[in-house]
């Protein structure tokens, strides 16, 4: 696959490092700032290209016409949206993924044909959550075309789930507990998995079940 990453900040840099490890992929990373591009180039080499990834003429030069996947991960939502739309409508790139910095833009991005979105707010919220224990359900990712989203829930003292096997929990329909991150690391849970205080749960749930799932896993919300 030929993959183009637009945006060489922390997210783009991290992606480039990951993708570099995977064989059979050609990766180009596009960075607007000359100094940042130079810095990246000294680490990542030839794959770094200095230019404006939302500009059609420039994308043409990096061979966007033969790209299979484009990821727009700059800190600028306008650039990310326009880049994905250009990728789709001008270059017919099959799959586009955009980072959404302002979570209120999520619906617009999906409506305008971006295939997947990654919300930076969700990731940052996960960091903030460590210092704000009352925030116990963190949306990590919206799943396009559905009411489902991926959330991160921290199990707290007083949670009805503590000490009980998951199979005994009467979750609402369409709730999937995908991963439990505890002292022993991340595990895919089974029916007999028992949650402990401090565990983090990654789950796929319908949005309308947020409140009830939070109550069942994190415990009752504190009234302040």
């Amino acid at each position: 696959m030929y993959i183009i990453i637009v945006g060489g900040g922390a997210v783009g840099h991290g992606l480039a490092l990951e993708l570099q490890q995977m064989p059979d992929h050609e990766v180009a990373i596009v960075e607007l700032s000359g100094s940042r591009a130079g810095q990246l180039r000294s680490e990542l080499g030839e794959m770094v290209v200095h230019g404006d990834g939302s500009e059609i003429a420039f994308l043409e030069r990096v061979g966007a016409g033969r790209a299979d996947l484009l990821l727009a991960v700059t800190a600028d939502d306008g650039a990310n949206l326009v880049t994905c739309q250009v990728a789709k409508h001008w270059f017919n790139i099959k799959r586009t993924i955009a980072r959404v910095n302002d979570s209120r833009n999520e619906a617009l991005f999906l409506r305008l044909g971006v295939d997947s979105i990654v919300s930076a707010a969700g990731a940052v919220m996960a960091q903030i959550e460590a210092s704000l224990p009352e925030h116990t359900i963190i949306p990590l990712m919206a799943l396009e075309g559905s009411r489902l989203h991926v959330v991160d829930i921290r199990v707290q003292a007083g949670s009805p789930a503590v000490g009980r096997p998951l199979r005994e929990m009467q979750f609402p329909p369409e709730v999937l507990i995908s991963v439990v991150i505890g002292k022993q690391g991340a595990v895919v849970p089974a029916g007999d998995t028992v949650l402990q205080v401090g565990d983090e749960v990654i789950a796929v749930i319908p949005r309308e079940s947020d409140a009830i799932v939070r109550e069942m896993i994190a415990g009752p919300t504190e009234v302040k």
Partner: protein
């Protein structure tokens, strides 16, 4: 299009030379004009007698758009400095808030053409500028 309808509610994003000039003209024609700019200093380009509203905020930010009463707006014109910001704000005005007439300045002629095809009313000052400069060279030749 028919001639202008007096009393339209118009929201202009960006109070640069073009934004301020257009706002002044539309207000003089009797329209209800609001100008949005992220920098209050940009409003110096409007005369003190300007009859419209000045609002500090970003045209890509939902909070500012709601404050500018975007849902009751007949016409949204994106004249900020960045093409991508103009395109984002315009698509938001059109798709999310249902604004009927959306006009977008896109400096890059190719992006202007592409988003024109996708349904925005775009114009490229770059393209117009090239034509004007070219014609001026051969004027009276």
């Amino acid at each position: 299009m028919a001639g202008e309808v007096p009393g339209m509610r118009i929201l202009i994003m960006g109070c640069g030379r073009v934004g301020a000039g257009l706002a002044t003209q539309l207000a003089n024609e009797g329209h209800d004009v609001t100008v949005l700019d992220t920098d209050a200093f940009a409003f110096r380009r409007l005369l003190p007698t300007f009859a419209g509203h000045r609002l500090v905020g970003s045209g890509t930010d939902d909070r500012s758009l709601v404050e500018a009463r975007i849902a009751e707006t007949d016409c949204f014109i994106a004249l900020a400095s960045g093409d991508n910001r103009n395109i984002l704000a315009s698509q938001k005005a059109k798709e999310i808030y249902g604004v009927k007439t959306v006009v977008t300045r896109v400096r890059d002629p190719l992006r202007s053409e592409m988003f024109g095809r996708l349904g925005l009313r775009t114009f490229s000052p770059t393209k117009v500028g090239v034509t004007l400069a070219h014609d001026a060279i051969f004027q009276g030749a």
